[in-house]
């Protein structure tokens, strides 16, 4: 049985997949689950264009018969665009600050030999393993002390402090060859110059991954936004605004779906546009992290 042609045949069927029966079964399950995953999104978008009669219908209306912008117009009676601006500003600011501070710190941890390095790194690892949400309550008191409650910086600053980025950047910096840095130094480049013109370009893929990761995580960090910004409607983020609308008018699903669409669609477009970098970034971050 273990003749050469047989072995080759086993290998071939394997590379092309498995038995046809299993392949069909797998494909059917995959497509069904994919539809199940896509459906909430479909329901948000179509729901946001339904009028009150269709929203409250007692039978399923799979597609809006009389598409209307009424839900969006009613959404704009609330400061929804301000909420959108807030969440974009928070996510972008947290992303930029995190990438900058984390790449500087990660470089020092990864490439420099200094007193206290081991201890510092151990502290960072331990902090990462702790649940972020547990510190949010004392954090609010701290922010109130600094007069930052209901201020969007109260969401940005703690996000930048979270040590995952430092950890990720350390992993990437370690791959930069020391010789290149030494060559730059011999050529007379100072510490900062060496970092920005030699090291930074080499860890760019890592910075890109961290940027994407920070952006999406900040956008979706609802708990932090809720605790820090709940007191002032003008400081709400879009997710927080929607959740409050839901609390106030729990059966006005058309309005809520319009809000959900406004929150979801921009970030989905960003995701699809950068999908390749996105998935690469997440995979890289984890394999290295």
């Amino acid at each position: 049985m273990s003749t050469n042609p047989a072995a080759v045949k086993v290998k071939k069927t394997d590379l092309s997949g498995t038995s046809t029966g299993y392949k069909v079964f797998a494909a059917v399950i995959l497509i069904l689950v994919a539809l199940f995953f896509l459906f909430p999104l479909y329901w948000i978008v179509t729901g946001s264009f339904k009028d009150a009669i269709e929203i409250n219908a007692r039978y399923p209306i799979w597609f809006p018969q009389n598409p209307t912008l009424d839900n969006y117009l009613r959404l704009l009676e609330h400061p929804a665009l301000r909420w959108l601006f807030n969440i974009v500003f928070i996510s972008v600011a947290a992303m930029v600050l995190t990438c900058l501070t984390a790449s500087l710190a990660g470089y020092a941890l990864g490439k420099k030999r200094f007193i206290g390095r081991g201890v510092l790194f151990t502290i960072i690892i331990c902090a990462m393993a702790l649940p972020k949400q547990v510190i949010v309550i004392p954090l609010l008191q701290e922010m109130t002390f600094f007069g930052l409650n209901n201020n969007i910086w109260a969401v940005i600053l703690p996000t930048v402090g979270w040590p995952f980025g430092v950890f990720l950047m350390k992993q990437f910096s370690e791959t930069v060859p020391t010789e290149i840095m030494e060559a730059a130094r011999v050529d007379g480049a100072g510490e900062l110059r060496t970092f920005f013109s030699v090291v930074f370009p080499m860890i760019k893929p890592g910075v890109g991954a961290l940027a994407i990761f920070t952006f999406v995580n900040t956008w979706n960090d609802y708990f932090l936004q809720l605790v820090m910004l709940q007191g002032d409607e003008m400081a709400y983020t879009l997710p927080l605004g929607i959740s409050n609308l839901q609390g106030e008018m729990s059966s006005d699903f058309g309005l809520i779906m319009a809000g959900a669409a406004l929150a979801a669609v921009p970030i989905i477009i960003v995701f699809i546009a950068f999908q390749k970098y996105f998935t690469q970034g997440i995979a890289m971050g984890a394999v290295k992290g």
């Binding site: 984390a102 200094f114 972020k132 402090g161 609802y222 959900a260 998935t279 984890a286």
Partner: protein, 311 residues
């Protein structure tokens, strides 16, 4: 790319070499390097200390204080922690949280591994299509996903009742079903990242080993368990840890769908921390619950590391 050891485990090693980290460096050089390193670290350390370390310390300190609506009343010793033993709500929260973790973590891990195995050898387009679809709920955000599920499960206007013909059934208001729907929704928002990770890890498995095993007549299952499984172990460990932490911290779902009800049947520790702090204004006790939650998560993570290492 070579197989990377789990990072956290790998980091333990350089510590051993600490004595030699300065070898060949003069004292002056060590001092100069130390100063410049801390200058590089300064911006990051500022944020880390101010907004992570200090709140952690405050959290632990408050957990030992009698601190309610009227401000700090005095030192409570272990009273806040002892209260946990008597607290029915905390017991319900602990039970539900552990149930969520015990159900969600294995199903998310197994299902995402199955999906990844099914798609990683596909052509580029269907592979990225499926990966994208499963990642969409993560990107969409927990609030948007949660409000649409609230509508789907609504007793009067909800699609589920209309399709299933169960008129007026309040899925989220019924003790026996509420938590299972929470777990289902949590599942849909949790498998995106593991799939991305597994697809990458499976793509990195050394193809020559697989081919060699197949030439030797190994079955599919043998190839999976003997070759692929050990090589994707670091990814599995990472997936287990992040899924566990996410499941423990599941909050938006509870707050927007059930607020812990009916009759605490969807109460989780995380929601109780929030509720105790902001509705009851019982800060000392809320921080004690938070500390206990952190300890529980640390224990779960440690167990997973232990198990994964002995494998």
């Amino acid at each position: 790319m070579a197989q990377n050891a789990p990072a956290v485990a790998a980091q333990r090693k350089p510590k051993k070499q600490k004595q030699s980290q300065f070898s060949g460096m003069s004292k002056a050089l060590v001092r100069r390097e130390t100063i410049s390193a801390y200058l590089f670290l300064l911006p990051s350390l500022f944020f880390f200390v101010a907004f992570v370390v200090i709140p952690m310390v405050i959290c632990v300190v408050y957990s030992f204080l009698e601190y309610g609506i009227g401000g700090v009343q005095g030192f409570a010793g272990f009273d806040n922690y002892l209260r946990l033993l008597q607290d029915e709500v905390f017991h319900a929260g602990l039970r539900n949280t552990i149930l969520i973790v015990v159900v969600a973590v294995p199903t998310v891990t197994a299902f995402s591994l199955w999906v990844s195995s099914a798609i990683y050898k596909m052509h580029a387009f269907p592979r990225s299509f499926f990966r994208c679809v499963f990642y969409l709920p993560v990107v969409t955000g927990s609030v948007a996903i949660t409000v649409v599920w609230k509508w789907i499960l609504d007793p009067y206007n909800g699609l589920l009742n209309q399709v299933a013909g169960t008129n007026g059934m309040d899925w989220l208001g019924t003790q026996s079903t509420a938590l299972w729907f929470i777990i289902l929704i949590l599942f849909t928002t949790s498998i995106g990242q593991p799939i991305v990770l597994y697809v990458a890890a499976l793509g990195n498995v050394d193809q020559s080993l697989i081919e060699a095993a197949q030439v030797d007549g190994a079955t599919k299952l043998q190839v999976f368990w003997k070759i692929k499984w050990p090589q994707i172990m670091p990814t599995t460990l990472y997936v287990l840890v992040i899924t566990t932490i996410n499941s423990f911290q599941c909050f938006a779902l509870i707050q927007l769908l059930t607020r812990g009800g009916p009759l605490n049947s969807t109460m989780t520790i995380m929601y109780q921390v929030y509720y105790t702090a902001y509705t009851l204004q019982d800060f000392g006790y809320a921080n004690a619950i938070g500390v206990v939650l952190a300890i529980i998560i640390a224990i779960f993570s440690a167990i997973q590391f232990k198990v994964a290492k002995t494998d």
